[in-house]
């Protein structure tokens, strides 16, 4: 499928109010054609409402939504060339898997043989061949997920909307499906708009993502950009773990009172007798807690004045029991100046 320069989806000053609640508040957004775009945010941040407005289940209170350049703000769902994978899958319980997948073709009056053949092809695409005769209730969560995907893709939409589709799966399956979805998106080459509250999922799959908070978009960018240069305190805190240093302590460390964020894995713990490099920020503190997490160990370092820094250290060697012994020790921390990101600065 050729990519067009017209954005697949465009929000122009879109707001959606439910009574007094501003679920979506003056959102401007562009999603490029063929992109894997993620809307990330806590529950109630407006991401799902935005998705529902693209699908047509909800209409904006004000503003406009364009699909490939056409204003669709007030069109019903069945007039829009987008399809949706629902959070609860929304498979029709009274139909077989095959009839579920073929539903979109059935309502378009495609002849029975043809839609059956198409549906079987889709089931192969999502790696569920031969399950067509079953009822949705006879499938596992992961299988239902795939059926929902096949059903949404059979109409060859130009945009696929996914509303927290992996939320109900266990961690291992979720991680598998993340990679599979990403591969599928590259294979079919259409725009995916993916809603999730899981920041790791968003970072894993997206070409770019928007971070939502209280009905507004805080930041839009590629995963690395969002993670490395958070535009606001909210983004810094929501995407990954972040240490925010502000006020007097910031001044003491950097010479400026501007708030900055530093990621836990970017902080080094100085070994006894070592000196921090000259081109680095450093601070001293007391290890107040040590949490062993397998891949890495997390230290909580109390810098005084209520400032506690989280420091992550990869467990490069067999460290059995050793890190835990560090509790209560006085340590010196340092990190490269580049890694201290002033909030809002690029």
């Amino acid at each position: 499928m050729s990519k067009s320069s017209t954005p697949a989806i465009q929000f122009k000053d879109v707001s959606r109010h439910f009574g007094d609640v501003r679920a979506v508040d003056h959102v401007d957004l562009q999603i490029a054609d063929g992109e894997f775009f993620t809307m990330l945010g806590p529950s109630g941040s407006g991401k799902t409402t935005c998705l529902r407005m693209i699908a047509g289940f909800d209409q904006p209170t004000s503003g406009q939504i364009f699909l490939h350049g056409t204003d669709v703000s007030y069109l019903p769902p069945y007039e829009r060339e987008v399809n949706t994978v629902f959070q609860d899958y929304a498979l029709f319980p009274h139909m077989t898997v095959l009839d579920n997948v073929a539903y979109g073709l059935m309502v378009r009056n495609v002849p029975k043989d043809k839609r059956k053949a198409e549906a079987e092809k889709m089931l192969e695409l999502v790696r569920l061949p031969g399950l067509g005769k079953r009822k949705p209730s006879q499938l596992s969560g992961g299988q239902r997920q795939r059926v929902a995907l096949a059903r949404a893709l059979i109409l060859k939409p130009r945009v696929l909307l996914l509303d927290e589709p992996l939320g109900a799966l266990d961690l291992k399956l979720r991680q598998e499906m993340q990679l599979e979805l990403k591969a599928l998106q590259e294979q079919v080459g259409i725009t995916f708009v993916y809603v999730t509250h899981d920041q790791e999922e968003a970072l894993t799959m997206s070409d770019s993502l928007a971070v939502f908070n209280q009905g507004r978009i805080e930041q839009v960018g590629a995963p690395a950009e969002i993670y490395e240069s958070p535009a606001s305190e909210f983004v810094a805190g929501f995407v990954g773990v972040s240490n925010l240093i502000r006020g007097p302590l910031a001044k003491q460390i950097t010479g400026s009172t501007a708030t900055f964020s530093i990621r836990p894995e970017k902080i080094h713990i100085l070994k006894a007798g070592e000196k921090p490099p000259s081109e680095a920020y450093s601070a001293g503190g007391l290890i107040s807690d040590v949490i062993y997490l397998g891949m890495y160990t997390r230290y909580e370092v109390d810098l005084g004045g209520g400032n506690i820094l989280t420091v992550a250290q990869q467990n490069l060697t067999t460290t059995k029991g050793k890190p835990l012994a560090a509790k209560g020790q006085q340590v010196q921390l340092f990190w490269e100046k580049d890694h201290a990101k002033q909030i809002g600065a690029k």
């Binding site: 699908a55 629902f86 498979l91």
Partner: protein, 311 residues
């Protein structure tokens, strides 16, 4: 747990612990009373009735002959009895279809759109007629539908009397007035059985998640197709449940036809007169098995159609 075992226990606690250790006994206590009722009272009387239907009445002595015979069932096939069965089944069908048409939109509104408050109010409104005596309601309708009643007056005020007269002039359903005609019987049946149709449909629709309707629209189905392919099939079990009520209640009723009707009998009236005035218990029993048979056929058909799959 040694510490808890050492604690003193009340007899009730000891009893419940005993039941916990003997689940079969608990189950027996749970099912005992309803089973005694169902088998001892309900099924055995049904069985007695069926046995009676295979006896016959001696025409000369007027005594019941307690020997197995199918001659009583053969009597059902006389023209007048077939007429009664046909009339009753036709009425039950008409009442069921009419209640379906009226109940569905209201049930749909209750399940889909009504706020919690409105829903509570509607539940109350739907079930409120059930609080008053059925006889009172039927006789109230007799007055409403009477020739000098309020309905005739309203129709007169609207200058539609000619239309009503035309309707009452139709041979099989008409009569001298609404209060003495199959139309009247039909109206009262629809009124008294409507709650039994609304509630099951509402319950079935309540279980359909909104996302299913959204998914249907999302896949290109216009509302009419969503209704046909998603809403209707999922509401079907509720519609079947409701129609079981309206159909069987109409089949067995003898009060409404005798209050509102003319001289044409319905099954309930026939049963009443056979077992009462003429003392023909076997024929009354055979007549009663007709609704049973009709309902059994109806259920089998519903099952074939897949109506009960979603249960």
């Amino acid at each position: 747990m040694k510490t808890t075992a050492a604690l003193p226990r009340s007899p009730i606690q000891r009893f419940s612990n005993f039941l916990y250790a003997h689940p079969a006994l608990g189950l027996a206590l749970l099912l005992g009373p309803p089973l005694v009722w169902m088998i001892g009272i309900y099924l055995s009387s049904l069985f007695t009735m069926l046995v009676q239907s295979f006896f016959r009445l001696d025409d000369f002595t007027g005594q019941i002959v307690r020997e197995f015979t199918l001659s009583t069932y053969a009597q059902l096939f006389t023209a007048s009895n077939l007429d009664i069965v046909q009339r009753t089944a036709g009425m039950a069908t008409a009442v069921t279809l009419a209640t379906l048409l009226i109940a569905f939109p209201l049930a749909y509104y209750m399940a889909r759109y009504a706020s919690t408050r409105a829903k509570g109010f509607l539940y109350l409104a739907v079930t409120l007629p059930l609080w008053s005596s059925y006889l009172v309601k039927v006789y109230a309708w007799k007055l409403i539908l009477a020739k000098e009643g309020i309905l005739s007056w309203v129709i007169g005020q609207l200058h539609l009397t000619a239309g009503m007269d035309w309707l009452l002039g139709i041979p099989t359903i008409g009569g001298p007035s609404l209060s003495i005609s199959p139309i009247g019987i039909f109206l009262v049946f629809v009124y008294v059985w409507l709650p039994y149709m609304i509630l099951p449909i509402q319950a079935a629709l309540e279980r359909v998640p909104k996302s299913l309707l959204e998914a249907s629209g999302d896949l290109g189905a216009k509302p009419a197709k969503t209704f046909r392919h998603v809403i209707l099939p999922l509401a079907f079990p509720g519609m079947v449940a409701g129609s079981l009520f309206t159909f069987s209640l109409t089949l067995g009723d003898f009060i409404v036809p005798s209050v509102m009707g003319n001289s044409s009998f319905y099954i309930g009236q026939a049963v009443l007169s056979h077992q009462g005035t003429s003392g023909n218990i076997p024929l009354a029993a055979a007549m009663t098995s007709v609704p049973l048979l009709i309902m059994a056929i109806y259920l089998i058909l519903a099952r074939r159609l897949g109506a009960l799959d979603a249960l």
